[in-house]
Symmetry: C2
Subunit: 397 residues, 2 copies
Amino acid sequence: MSTPKILILGAGYGGLLTTLQLQKKLNYNEAEVTLVNKHDYHYITTWLHEPAAGTASADHARVYLDQIIDTNKIRFIKGTVQSIQPEERKVTLENGDVLMYDYLVIGLGSEPETFGIQGLKEHAFSIRSINAVRQIREHIEYMFAKYKMEPERTDYLTFVVGGAGFTGIEFCGELADRIPELCREFDVNPELVKIYNIEAAPTALPGFDPDLVNYAMEVLTRKGVEFKINTPIKQCTPEGVVLATGEEIKSATVVWTGGVRGNSIVEKSGFEVMRGRVKVDEYLRAPGYDNVFIVGDCALIFNDQGRPYPPTAQIAVQEGENCGANLVKIVRGEAVLEPFVPNLQGTLASLGKGEGMGMVGTKKIYGTSAALMKKASDLRYLYKIGGVGLALKKVRL
Amino acid sequence: MSTPKILILGAGYGGLLTTLQLQKKLNYNEAEVTLVNKHDYHYITTWLHEPAAGTASADHARVYLDQIIDTNKIRFIKGTVQSIQPEERKVTLENGDVLMYDYLVIGLGSEPETFGIQGLKEHAFSIRSINAVRQIREHIEYMFAKYKMEPERTDYLTFVVGGAGFTGIEFCGELADRIPELCREFDVNPELVKIYNIEAAPTALPGFDPDLVNYAMEVLTRKGVEFKINTPIKQCTPEGVVLATGEEIKSATVVWTGGVRGNSIVEKSGFEVMRGRVKVDEYLRAPGYDNVFIVGDCALIFNDQGRPYPPTAQIAVQEGENCGANLVKIVRGEAVLEPFVPNLQGTLASLGKGEGMGMVGTKKIYGTSAALMKKASDLRYLYKIGGVGLALKKVRL
């Protein structure tokens, strides 16, 4: 009997937590575990709005995998997945390498969902990776520098954030904090800078408690963000956005945060998807494949009311832990797996430095308390993946 | 008899030193002195290659005028000169204001000289102001960020510096120092980055001692700069440069340092010019106007061999001091003015951190000694314009 091969694609929340469970629970040689990731680092996606705005460095939001992965137990391959052939139990990388597996964990994350809005893909930025947010930050700074050379180009100082979901709201908070710094650095009158947050739905943060939504909008409005709710974007052009109302906003910087879909590799590999996500069974397995697990943004799970859980870090972490634990059972020949049951502990959104809001359990919290609770939650996550050392290194109070 | 009106245009080296002489030597009410400048700060042009490359902040290279100008003695107007009407003794600003004068000092600085090279004006940057160098720095950083999103675009990592004169050489030195930092920040392999220095003349630093030229080229070559001497640029395009040899270098960043000419306002105002510079008399006066003095890059002076002095900070400073002193004599009715005689004390070029070369008197100096001498010379200038306080604040060892 040969050692089972477990292949994990992606070191995001889901893939990383699966890997860490296996690393912790498996003895040497119980399984051959391989983790494939595009970069040699994991990034804390829920922090990316900060380096995107420039209020934190991109380095702050990433954790090098060699700091948390034990390479005696886990083989790490830096590579980009091109396709999965589940029938043949193999994965092909972009460099042509082929990896065989007995058990596969797909944690390939998401892509921006543009809902068919023309020009978004070509002309808008997305807050989606370390590389992407460094580009956004540099782009924003460059616009300030360019404005000083062409003061008639007020579109350089106009920032459009498409989508008032979680990422859109949090990014607006950071950007509003960053603008005064940029104005000082580049000698720009702050009154000339505009931040628009544009949302198609009838409310910001759809699905959130209205008190929290109002609080968030008030805080951000005070910081200078102008909301256009219930206002779909019709088109994104090199000059800005055209709204469904016909209004045109001239802007050299459009950041789209309006939604995500599962990584298209999953669909291209023949899995049946809804918005790129695979409806998994109670053990997070893809339909028809007992040996293929899907975690994170590529997995689709419905709640008791028949509505899909949103793709959040919290659920991805729990999925990874469940998947890792079940793989240990499988490797050891245990018959009964643990079904995945999300344990929603609340949601917290930051609204810039020292400001936030959210639910902890059933309690609404606001302001500094929310910001502190969010730090505590971040700390817990860092401790979980990297122990005390990482938590102390990364946390900023 | 009314108080004479002295109007100084530009707070560069020449205009500022004229102003400071008048501030120091004139008693209250001996003259009405007005200084007009586009910005409320003076900048140390000979340092601009540092913030352009990003090795120092732009703020470091500027000095706010209110820190060095005594507004009880000098009236300061922040404004941009549109035209000079010397027959009517008046100056019109872009905002429509008209300023009358009895004595005028033109210190309006320079513009890039493109020698008719197609596309340079449109597609190349110039190291010419605080705003311009902030744009260059941000552009360079943005190119690194963009490269990470489009790794096939090696032109994002290719930097072309047109001109191997003083500014070109010094900028190459700073840029070469900056590249490793940028590579670390953006996870870029340093071997992919190229810096080309392209010069039409048969040598770098034309007119300099060949030993010094060789030293500079060796230091910069070691730092990764590739020289193409005796190689005119034929055309600059949005994609890079085309050389006279037919070779094309794809580059998203072309910085033109190949030469300057006097501010075109001077020519447009009817003064006779050569490359935008007015051949002044021995008292720095414009031909035909006893009451119009020209200092700095707009003034053309010939040496004993009949060759024009290059437009340097050193000469501009001396011209400002001479002009200021002569204006004091004029205001006081003294008949004999002091002719301007340049006192060349040597020239020092930096070649990145801790490296330099140059002449002090007739002695050639290299390396750390040259870098230190250059610091000493900078310190002397800062002391001259702003006293000990400014010198201590700005100097970096």
